[in-house]
Amino acid sequence: MFTAIGLTHYLLLAAMLFCIGLWVMASKRNAIGVLIGVELILNASNINLLAFARYSTGGMNGHLIALFVIVLAAAEAAIAIAIVVNLYKNFMSVDVDKAATMKN
């Protein structure tokens, strides 16, 4: 199993990255941490897409979808950071718990 690499390896790696990303999302009080978790998850999905593109007959679909995912991830990150900054302006903190409890 360590001598040859196949689709399953990539998929498992992606799954692991996905689960860690989830864990990060779920265990951070820092809004930026949550964002980072999301980015990890998106990376995991991209790994999946490209792995399938390499090991399966999909042509360039996987590549293009991954490309769009990257684009949207960038967009999402931009918005998320903007929100975080805004949150910080409002609460003087990026603690999502505070954001949850300190409703106006």
Partner: protein
Amino acid sequence: MDAGQQISGLLIIGAVVPLLMFVLLAFLGPRLGKPFASFPAIFGILVSFGCAALALQRWWYVLTDDERVEAAASAYSWPWVVLGDIPIRFGVQLDSLTIAMYFMVTLVSSCIFIFSRGYMSGHSDEVDGVSKYHRFFAYLSLFAFSMLGLVISDSLLFLFIFWELVGLCSYLLIGYYFDRKYASNAAIKAFVVNRVGDFGFIIGLGLVALFLKDLSIGGAIAAFQSQSSGETGLFARDTAINLFGWYVRGDIVATLMGVFLFCGCIGKSAQVPLQVWLPDAMAGPTPVSALIHAATMVAAGVYLVARIFPLLTPGAQAVVAMVGGVTLILAALMAIVQTDIKKALAYSTLSQLGYMVFGMGMGAWVGALFHLITHAFFKAMLFLGSGQVIEGCHHEQDMRKMGGLWRKMPVTAFTFLVGVLAISGVGWPGKNTTPFFGLGGYYSKDEILAVAWFQTYGLSAASDGHHAGNFRERATDPLTNAHGYDSVILAGYSAEEGQHQTAHAGLETASGLKSDASLQPWIPKWLVWLAIITAWITPFYMMRVWWLTFMGKPRDEPVYHHAHESPGMYIPLVILAIGTFAASWFLFRGLIVDAAQHVAHISKLVVPLDGHEHLIHAFSGPALNKLVWPAFIVGFIAAFFIYRRGLKLAERIIDLPVVEQFYWILWQKFYFDEAYNKLVLAGTILFSRICGWFDKWVVDFVLVEGCARVVKGLAFFSGQRLDAGGIDQVAENLGRTAFRIGDLFRAVQTGRIRNYVIYTAATLAVVISVMVWW
């Protein structure tokens, strides 16, 4: 246009004009101002009186007997509604009784309206700058309309409708000084107590509708006659009627029906046990007490009994007699101790109403109604006299502060004395049977007593044969005989036929009655003794009232000093005094006897054939005569000696050991009010509070709110615990819900996204596991 339409039209016009005046006063009254607001009302009642006079003239002096029968058949009648299959019509009951009542009501009302004009304008009735003067006359007009409608209506339902309307007027007028708590309390008491009576009345009406299927008076009586005849009628002794599960004998149901109808009379005529409202009703202005609570409305109960008399079985008659008998003595006893002049008169009214009802129950139809008419005159006069006194003494009603007023108000004192004499039954028996002199009570009350004596003790005890009148036996229709109406007796005395015939033989042969057998087996003998005792009490307390008010020395100088009387108010008194004399001697008795002829065909009555003789001599003989006649002399003398010097002697008598307790019972009115307040009123209010509490806390809170809370809890659980968080992807909701179901008891209410992320992950894991390993 024939005579019936003419006369009934007159009666209707006479009733409607006061109604129009009521409407006029209701809208324009406030603008008319104080003296003028009374004019439309007086005008209205005078028009009614004119109509009454015209109708009387046509009916009594123009028409012959046969024409009257025709006229009665052609009186106006309109369809009103159809109750299932019972058509209900509004029509005029045209007979001599209607005419007599109508004439009496309009005459007395006219006097009282005129009196009120003076009485009320002297009254400071302006409360907060709002004059209620016009309202008084508006209500009086409405009352006149309702009372006249009651008198003329020929349907039991319409009788009931007007019955309630007069009750409404009574309510409004008792509560005329509604800014005073006691007045509005008394008004409510009057209305609600009357409603209790009407409750019985409407049950009676329901039974009439159920069994007789006709609510017009004539139709109901005809149906009753046919139903109670023979072996198979509904009300025959052998018929079993299913009354909600129990089978009841037909004649008992008939008795029940009569008793329930009589309940209306108990309420309106303030008989025991519903007598409590009448003394309180004196909270109204005095003319109201005179008109409504003495002369007319309270007598409507007796009028009702007179109308439905043929529906009363012997058992029901016994109930009527007993209620009346108990009322008359209780009221008379209570009247002895009153110190308020109006209350004293109120109790005397009660007592006299008891006499009437008692007489009705005993079969003294004529006597009771005659007493009603004469009583209306003299009691109205007494009340107006008391009103004059109260007005003259600046609203002082306490007799303890009066005395010696005859010097200041001689006319009032004289007319009051006439009333006292009349109610006491003053008369002087002439030779043989023709009375030398007598006032209303002498004829009417003594006739009631005579008939009662006859009904309980029969002829034997009463008659020594010499004085017995001329009894004529009429064959009755066999139907009533079979039912237990042993006979219809028309006992009459006629001066022209002054031959002394013994009645025994005639009676025995005709109906098989033994001469000593009472004709009314259900009536206990002691009842007649209650009436006789009361006949002795009445002169005493009436003379007491008169003496304390008008004679002796003034006991309260300021009151005496201000006392005065005014002609605008004593003229109606004089008219009524004349009316008292006239009513005793002319007209009314003839009308009533004429009406009785028709009733006597279908029901058992004791009817004198001719009008003006003193039945007690003709009929019950000297025994009763000796028992009753001296009563007024003894009573007057006793009152004179006790109250000669004011109340000092009386107070000493009260302090005697046994008398004291008795006095307190009387003073507390036999504790009727206390009992009602503590048991009925407090009970009802308590019960209503319990219901209100039950509704608020059990039905609304526990059941409805409880259900709501449970549902809300579930909703909260699914909505808040399982569904909140604002993430709205369907899969996420699904996953979160699934996770939450696995984690029901975790009290996590975070609102944190990261928690939901992990719930989602866990759910995903679970879902995939389930999909894989299921």
